[in-house]
């Protein structure tokens, strides 16, 4: 069939999870200090004071165990000026990222400086901690640094609940936005699904038809962009009955997910089999696609609600998805000549 330039399918999605991190004793001690609006560093065997405290000495790899209290004022060692904060940045106005060496420490720490303007920033400038209004035991309990006040005095700190357990864990929400564009083969396939048609991609070398096509014939490593129109009929190659919910999927367990081989194709895909008792589903069973009403067709396999049994004789397992013999290179599934004999051949010698 003629190859039309497929539409480009793009869609935003968020890859996100709120990670639950355990901190261990060193990071935990620092974060516990932050919650109390105190800075705690540690001192390595060479006398260097690190803040935040390092779990292991970058020079000797030894654990650093001596903790020290650290001042809330320091000096900017280097900085960059963010004129237009992005949506992830915590300060919503122009600010600096900076390496700040706190007084009495030897190694600068990374944080932000709110100086108002780029002109107010300079290497070597004195800065002081600006604490967050509420502290939780996170690095962001330091809201940022700010130019040190004339007297070098930090503003009054609000009271902190005294009887809290030490911080041993933090939550890290990491949500990244992507705009995903489907590959050409997937786009062509899903465009047809949206029209209520099931199509596959045919490999020009081995003639295998893949549904859904994913851009290549994985066996031959060549593009399989010849679209082949397919029927709605398929055979159950294998299946599972799932008794636990799939995260983010509304379907209620128990339900059957089957490896379905559409007629005249050579690679099964997973879909739901319904319209019969779960216990009636079997390998070799014939099924056909039950499409949702046309107005619910989208660029997704969910346009097919499920596959349901049809009254046709079962297909022997060995015949499901079999390539025409002529199309099959005789050596395709054999070890190449320079390989050792297979393990099983060796196993045969076992009792000899």
């Amino acid at each position: 069939m003629p190859q039309n330039e497929p539409e480009v399918l793009s869609q935003a999605f968020t890859l996100g999870y709120t990670y639950t991190r355990s901190t261990g004793p060193v990071v935990g001690r620092f974060l516990t200090g932050l919650r109390e609006r105190k800075l705690i560093g540690n001192q390595a065997s060479d006398g260097k004071v690190y803040v935040p405290p390092m779990e292991y000495d970058p020079k000797t790899a030894e654990a650093i165990t001596d903790f020290v209290d650290v001042a809330e004022t320091g000096v900017v060692k280097t900085w960059s000026w963010v004129n237009e904060p992005n949506e992830k940045h915590l300060l919503k106005k122009p600010f600096a990222f900076a390496l700040i060496q706190l007084d009495g420490t030897d190694v600068p720490m990374l944080h932000m400086v709110d100086a108002g303007s780029q002109e107010a920033m300079s290497t070597g400038m004195k800065v002081q901690v600006r604490w967050a209004d509420e502290t939780q035991g996170l690095i962001t309990d330091i809201a940022c640094f700010e130019p040190a006040s004339e007297e070098g005095k930090v503003a009054e700190k609000p009271a902190v609940a005294a009887d809290l357990e030490p911080v041993t864990g933090v939550e890290s929400p990491i949500y990244l936005e992507y705009n995903f564009t489907a590959g050409k083969a997937t786009a062509a396939f899903l465009s047809n699904i949206k029209k209520g048609k099931l199509t596959g991609g045919k490999c020009p070398e081995c003639t295998a038809v893949y549904v859904p096509p994913r851009g290549s014939c994985p066996a031959c490593g060549v593009a399989n962009d010849e679209n082949v129109e397919l029927t709605n009929k398929a055979t159950v190659q294998s299946f599972t009955i799932i008794s636990i919910p799939i995260p983010g999927n509304p379907i209620k367990p128990p339900f059957v997910v089957a490896n379905l081989m559409v007629d005249d194709t050579h690679q099964s895909f997973l879909h739901i089999v319904s319209g019969c008792d779960n216990s009636d589903v079997r390998i070799g069973m014939r099924v056909e696609a039950v499409w949702k009403p046309e107005e619910e067709w989208t660029h997704a396999m969910e346009s097919i609600a499920y596959f349901q049994p049809i009254d046709e004789p079962d297909i022997p397992r060995e015949e499901i998805g079999k390539l025409e013999p002529s199309a099959n290179e005789p050596s395709a599934n054999e070890p190449s000549a320079n390989e050792q004999p297979s393990a099983n051949e060796k196993g045969e010698k076992k009792d000899a």
């Binding site: 890859l15 261990g24 890290s172 899903l190 799932i242």
Partner: protein, 387 residues
């Protein structure tokens, strides 16, 4: 030709659902320090560090090895990060060995880890991308139909998987580091533990663990000076094939068969059942034991289950080829480390360091890992003798 190399130190963490007492660095460090202690070495004795773990999304840190350099004493040294899906722990050990076998390094440290509790493996593995046409039900949902097909072909008794699940938990109860300690488990319990992905029951599935495993690998000269017995690396092999392709043999994948043939040939093994004293094989779902017994040539095709049902793979029942005496993946599963644990436990067996789960007189052992859609394989053979 490859330089001889040997495992001279092994370190593991305790495996559990959540190691809430350590940071990621602390977890990895614990295994690394234990390996150095076992080898009676210090950080300065290490020439390079090779790190492995499964997808970065499990912990939500891109290339976390970069942040781990201080914890691993790696500053100023070479570091490499391997990622080959579930087989990664094994692949990492093989890459690490190649640092020494190439003759380019004398002694290296390798570490694999997963702090699974920072997220949820099910989420990380099933997170749907737009236009992703696959219905994804995690690893269990993927492997259950393949197991069903194995059951159909082999006519194995329905309780083969139950036998494996019970056996590996009883093994795990002998291993002080194992996550699941189910010394009282019965086959009846496994049978009634509830179907998750039919035919896979809950207790036929691996747990989700935090943990790390580390090894020190040294060249021949240094290994011979090592205070404890070295485990000589007699063969290493990796194979990959695509996840899906027409007529792919999913039950008994060719990549696994070829990988095994390759590693046996290197180690001079012609009859694995006879010549391999014990094996640590990646069995995250119980039915994979009989399937891999066949794939790895310990049994004829269709007959792996007979070895299982005859208790050949049981240490406790005195089987002649114990599989997963440590309890295996079914007892502890920090995904990125699971493969390396197999490799390290194989080394510990031939070093005679396994304590209560020691296979008596083990001289030659196999470590095995697989990943992706059972498409990535890593295997090694270690021996008490240089060969």
């Amino acid at each position: 030709m490859a330089e001889l190399a040997a495992v001279v130190g092994v370190g593991q963490t305790k495996y559990q659902t959540k190691r809430s007492d350590v940071s990621i660095a602390g977890l990895v460090r614990e295994a690394a320090v234990n390996a150095l202690k076992d080898a009676e070495l210090t950080w300065d004795d290490i020439d390079a560090v090779i790190v492995g773990k499964a997808p970065d999304m499990f912990e939500g840190i891109i290339m976390p090895e970069a942040y781990l350099t201080d914890a691993l004493g790696c500053n100023g040294k070479p570091m490499l990060r391997v990622h080959t899906a579930g087989s990664v722990g094994g692949s990492t050990a093989i890459v690490a060995a190649s640092y020494v076998q190439s003759g380019m390094f004398k002694r290296i440290l390798t570490v694999a880890f997963e702090k699974q509790s920072e997220s949820n493996a099910m989420w990380a593995l099933s997170n749907p991308q737009p236009f992703s046409p696959h219905l994804n039900a995690g690893a269990g949902g993927y492997f259950a139909p393949i197991i069903r097909e194995y059951m159909r072909r082999s006519n194995a008794p329905y309780n083969t998987g139950i036998r494996v699940a019970t056996k590996d938990r009883l093994h795990g109860a002998l291993n002080p580091l194992a996550h699941l300690k189910l010394g009282e488990i019965t086959e009846e319990q496994v049978e009634h533990s509830g179907m998750l992905w039919d035919p896979i029951r809950m207790l036929e599935s691996c747990p989700s663990s935090d943990g790390a495993c580390a090894m020190v690998i040294a060249n021949e000269e240094l290994a011979e000076q090592s205070p404890k017995k070295p485990a000589w690396i007699r063969g290493t092999a990796m194979r990959s094939e695509p996840t899906m392709f027409a007529e792919r043999e999913e039950v008994n994948p060719l990549a696994g068969r070829q990988c095994a043939a390759d590693v046996y040939q290197q180690a001079g093994i012609t009859n694995p059942r006879k010549e391999i004293d014990c094996a640590e094989i990646y069995v995250p779902f119980s039915w994979y034991e009989p399937m891999w017994l066949e794939n790895l040539g310990f049994a004829e095709e269709g007959e792996g289950w007979k070895l299982t049902m005859d208790n050949v793979t049981s240490l406790i029942d005195g089987g002649d080829t114990p599989w997963n005496p440590s309890g295996g993946v079914l007892s502890s599963n920090p995904i990125g480390a699971s493969g390396m644990i197999r490799f390290a436990e194989a080394a510990q067996q031939v070093r005679g360091e396994c304590g209560d789960h020691q296979v008596p007189g083990a001289k030659t052992a196999m470590g095995h890992a697989y990943g992706g859609g059972a498409q990535f394989y890593a295997m090694w053979i270690v021996s008490a003798d240089k060969g």
